[in-house]
């Protein structure tokens, strides 16, 4: 019994030993002057900078702005991707009309649009919203399309022979069948959402985490730059955890997603 608890505790601790060790080394190197604070400030001073920014409320303002931009971009791009994916996936005609165009646009890296976006929208909010939306659109669109197309035709035939058609066929059979694929698209675009936002914010912004780090760079405040990077990492992780828990809930019937 006690042996078992020991095992559990050590299993919980062991994965953290390496990062803790690295941080201790880092702190030591910064304190002893082996590592210039211009290049990498000590973990303690990053922590202090984090606390200072939180207490002044400055960090919150930036995080709120960035999160709002990310989520609204995701809602617009992902929503459009979902709707268009459902349409082209369900109707052959819509695929013929739309898919080639979309596939062509897909091959343009969204970041290559930055000069054009600045010309069109200036460095306004709309510019960031546009970039994020374009970026997250395609993973959701493609995965929704393929999800719909890959629903087992045997199940559809069965459901039809049991009297399901129209909306109920869609709701009970086609949509749930496409859901695993749609969620893969959602997770993928959540990652892409932050990447695009970071780039958009570092190029041109008056607020947001990207602005905060770029501003800090001008004043050589390496600690604040690092706080910004850490916050991005945390937000990215948070988005992924959310997507994962959605998967675990919606796909709880799926043997591949069942929690042990």
């Amino acid at each position: 019994m006690s042996n078992q608890t020991f095992k559990n505790v050590s299993n919980a601790i062991v994965p953290w030993l390496t990062p803790i060790f690295l941080i201790v080394i880092w702190q030591w190197a910064a304190q002893s002057g082996h590592l210039s604070t211009r290049i990498l400030p000590s973990p303690l001073s990053i922590g202090q900078a984090f606390i200072k920014l939180t207490e002044s409320g400055e960090l919150w303002v930036h995080v709120k702005t960035s999160t709002w931009r990310a989520l609204s971009g995701f809602a617009v791009g992902g929503g459009l991707g979902l709707i268009l994916g459902l349409i082209t996936g369900s109707f052959k005609k819509a695929e013929v009309v739309l898919d080639t165009t979309l596939q062509m646009i897909r091959n343009i890296p969204p970041l290559a649009l930055i000069p054009l976006v600045i010309l069109w929208f200036g460095i306004d909010e709309v510019a960031k919203l546009f970039l994020v939306s374009v970026g997250v659109f395609f993973p959701v669109y493609l995965n929704t399309f393929h999800g719909i197309r890959n629903v087992d035709p045997g199940l559809i035939e069965m459901a039809k022979s049991y009297g399901l058609k129209g909306f109920s066929l869609y709701w009970h059979v086609i949509l749930p069948g496409a859901l695993p694929s749609i969620l893969v698209g959602v997770r993928f675009s959540l990652g892409l959402m932050w990447v695009l936002l970071i780039v958009a914010e570092t190029i041109s912004a008056q607020s947001g985490i990207g602005y905060m780090t770029m501003n800090a760079r001008e004043f050589l405040q390496t600690d604040i730059v690092l706080v910004g990077i850490l916050v991005y990492a945390l937000l990215g992780k948070l988005a992924d955890v959310l997507a994962k828990s959605l998967e675990r809930y919606w796909l709880r019937w799926h043997p591949g997603y069942q929690s042990a």
């Binding site: 045997g154 199940l155 022979s161 019937w253 799926h254």
Partner: protein, 259 residues
Amino acid sequence: MQNNLVELKEVKKVEVVSCSQNGVSLTIRDLKKHYGDREVLKGINIEIEQGEFVAIVGRSGCGKSTLLRLVAGLEASSSGRLVLDHRCLPNNSVTRIMFQEARLLPWKKVIQNIALGLSAGILQQAKDVLQAVGLSDRADEWPARLSGGQKQRVSLARALVHKPKLLLLDEPLGALDALTRIEMHQLIESLWSQNKFTALLVTHDVSEAIALADRIILIEDGAIALNLEVDLPRPRERASQKFVEIEKQLLDQLLGSTH
């Protein structure tokens, strides 16, 4: 003359004429089906009485599954007539099909799978059928957690909850092990004798056909080669002399067709 014209007209749907209590009678007349130039069914004529259990056997590719799909209305025939006799229900609730694979929706619990296509609030009926196939304790399980035999039981329950007048079985036991298959034979036979629906079973397993059917129709190359009454008392003893004789007769016919 007039009648002939109607009969030869292409029929998209199974026709429904009159009515009966439990099973329906099924008349298949001069039914043909071709895919492009390939003729799969070359004019099939079958009369099935209400409540009768008929098995269709044949080698793979002989057209037996196509025949079943036509009767189920999953495909349209090229020509010929299919007439179902019954009284009060709309056509789509008369016939139910049990497929080769269970085809359960993996995102619905067992009980919801059975209730598929039922109007809400008839959950009790779904529970009753689930009990009839011996799986009432698995009602809230995901289909992925069931064994192959259990899945087919659920699929049988899903078909029976609609109280079909005609149950179509498209080699539903082909993927099961021998022991489970015999169990399923007993289950299907007892549910059939209780509910008195008409049953049409397609199989390549000759002994399965003899164990279950009142009559066996052997299809070869898109046409009926043999129409054999199975006059054995139920439940049938597989080792009995008559059983073995019928089995031999059918197998000889099936194997002889290669020469």
